[in-house]
């Protein structure tokens, strides 16, 4: 270990840089004062009460969950079959179609958001919630195709051929063989999609309407005008939720398999 001396020092400093500010937010959320001070003044839970009773945070939290859930479902519903086609079949224009399915991740979300605002939400008068779901599904499809595709390449297609050879139909083969084999991939894709949607700012920014918007957007709007520690409290609550989420993911599939390519 000694040969890594200065590397260990540097790495420690980097992690303080990465995690320190987030820890400070948690500490300052317990302040009695009415500005974000550090060190915090006294101890109180009043900003938590404020955050949990603030109507815009409550309704946008529900919207965020709804959008993340529906967006993930749509992305999986169209992404998993596409990944299956790409990994298991040979057909014309396969490479082109594969890059096409991954292309939404290349376009800046601001560009996508602005296009959907003008051409879908305003021009077609689609409800804000559905515009959000649509937009999120678009940017989640690449994750669904890539992550499920990766687990398909790791699995052995000969098992599927064996099942077919033994008389199973294509649907039976899919549900009895392929699906159980790629289930961890689908779980990973869902986790990644859900968290990506739940945290999204640049796309959701343009797709807000009266009474409908997501939690990160409401937080963003709140800090533009107010400097009190309510956002520190809601941040701490989100962090708590994220820790739970991370622990469950680590248990089920492992954070490394989801986040390290």
């Amino acid at each position: 270990m000694r040969k890594y001396g200065w590397l260990i020092v540097l790495t420690t400093l980097v992690y303080i840089f990465l995690l320190g500010p987030i820890a400070l937010v948690v500490a300052s959320s317990f302040t009695e004062g009415s500005t974000i001070d550090f060190p915090p003044v006294g101890f109180s839970l009043k900003w938590y009460e404020q955050a949990l009773t603030y109507p815009a945070f409550r309704s946008s939290f529900a919207t965020s969950l709804e959008v993340a859930l529906l967006g993930t479902l749509i992305a999986l519903a169209v992404g998993v079959p596409a990944a299956l086609a790409i990994q298991r079949y040979d057909f014309k224009a396969k490479a082109t179609l594969q890059s096409f399915f991954l292309s939404p991740v290349l376009v800046p979300e601001i560009v996508v958001g602005l296009a959907l605002l003008q051409q879908v939400m305003v021009a077609m008068r689609i409800q804000t919630l559905w515009a959000l779901v649509l937009g999120h599904a678009i940017i989640l499809i690449p994750y669904a195709v890539r992550v499920t595709g990766a687990s398909l390449t790791l699995s052995n297609p000969q098992i599927e051929e064996a099942a077919r050879g033994l008389g199973a139909g294509p649907l039976t083969t899919f549900f009895r063989i392929t699906l159980p084999v790629i289930a961890p991939g689908i779980v990973s894709a869902s986790v990644l999609s859900f968290i990506t949607s739940f945290n999204n700012v640049p796309l959701s920014l343009f797709l807000t309407g009266p009474g409908t918007s997501t939690l990160p957007i409401q937080m963003f709007i709140y800090v533009e005008f107010t400097f009190d520690p309510t956002v520190a409290a809601i941040s701490a609550l989100i962090l708590l939720m994220t820790v739970f989420f991370a622990l469950i993911t680590e248990r089920v599939v492992g954070l490394k398999t989801v986040f390290v390519r």
Binding site: L18, Y89, F91, S235, K256
Partner: protein
């Protein structure tokens, strides 16, 4: 064995969805940005590229992205290298610590720098307490604030992509070089570093393009004083409601990012 239409049937729903919900709206809005109302075709683009104020914003955006990418490379490489050499259980814990900030939304992460750098924040209070400054200084809405925020936002991306390259490198080669008398530094410089260049390209590309188009951090920590292309888009779309102009800026931002990423990547690949 497989009927030829099966893959097309599997791909069709996604293809249709992306064509209708993604390609079509994108194409239509490119159209609105090209079709100038008074000045004729491409008027918005001409107007933007002739405006020194706008060119300064392009320059600032590129400057921020370049500085942040370099800092991420310099800080991320040693960290990723160390993680790839540590025992698996320690490495897994550090990977979890790297992933964790990525699970938290960018508003929370930018807000955390407001807590650090604000007038009543820890930096100001500490400096005043130590007597280094007489009164709280303005750190928010400076280039340093934006650069710190973006670095914290994207450093995990860099660490993870470098780690995935470094961890796949065969340790035997480094050991062989050492066995043949190379110093640790020479073994690193001649063996490990050249083999990790693909990871550097991937990490650098991801961080640079993410910085070029980042919105939340420059808006929250840079405000109107440190406008970037992305915050300009927001300004024109949501404040002055000029959607065609906002779209033109957004598309210029996209094109610029593509060009700036494609050219160095191609050059590096040719050399490698």
């Amino acid at each position: 064995m497989n009927r030829s239409w099966t893959p097309y049937a599997l791909i069709a729903p996604g293809l249709l969805f992306l064509l209708l919900a993604f390609v079509l709206p994108l194409g239509l809005s490119v159209g609105t940005s090209i079709q100038g109302v008074e000045g004729g075709l491409l008027a918005h683009y001409q107007q933007l590229l002739a405006d020194p104020f706008f060119l300064a914003i392009i320059w600032r955006t590129i400057k921020f992205a370049t500085i942040v990418t370099l800092i991420c490379l310099v800080l991320g490489y040693p960290v990723a290298y160390l993680i790839s050499r540590l025992p698996p259980n320690v490495a897994t814990a550090l990977i979890a610590l790297t992933v964790f900030p990525q699970l938290v939304n960018s508003v929370v992460r930018s807000y955390s720098w407001m807590v650090v750098l604000g007038r009543e924040g820890i930096v100001n209070n500490l400096l005043v307490f130590l007597g280094l400054v007489d009164q709280p200084q303005q750190y928010l809405y400076t280039p340093v604030a934006v650069i710190l925020g973006l670095t914290q936002l994207f450093l995990p991306t860099m660490i993870l992509s470098l780690f995935s390259t470094l961890t796949q490198l065969n340790n035997d080669w480094e050991q062989a070089a050492r066995g043949l008398g190379a110093s640790p530094f020479t073994a690193f410089r001649r063996i490990v570093f050249p083999l990790s260049i693909p990871g550097l390209i991937v990490g650098g590309t991801l961080v640079f393009s993410a910085c070029m188009t980042a919105f939340t951090t420059p808006q929250m920590l840079g405000g109107t004083r440190q406008r970037t292309l992305a915050t300009m888009v927001y300004y024109y779309a949501n404040v002055s409601m000029n959607w065609p102009l906002a779209t033109a800026i957004a598309l210029l931002m996209f094109l610029l990012t593509l060009i700036m990423v494609a050219v160095p990547t191609r050059l590096l690949r040719q050399r490698g």
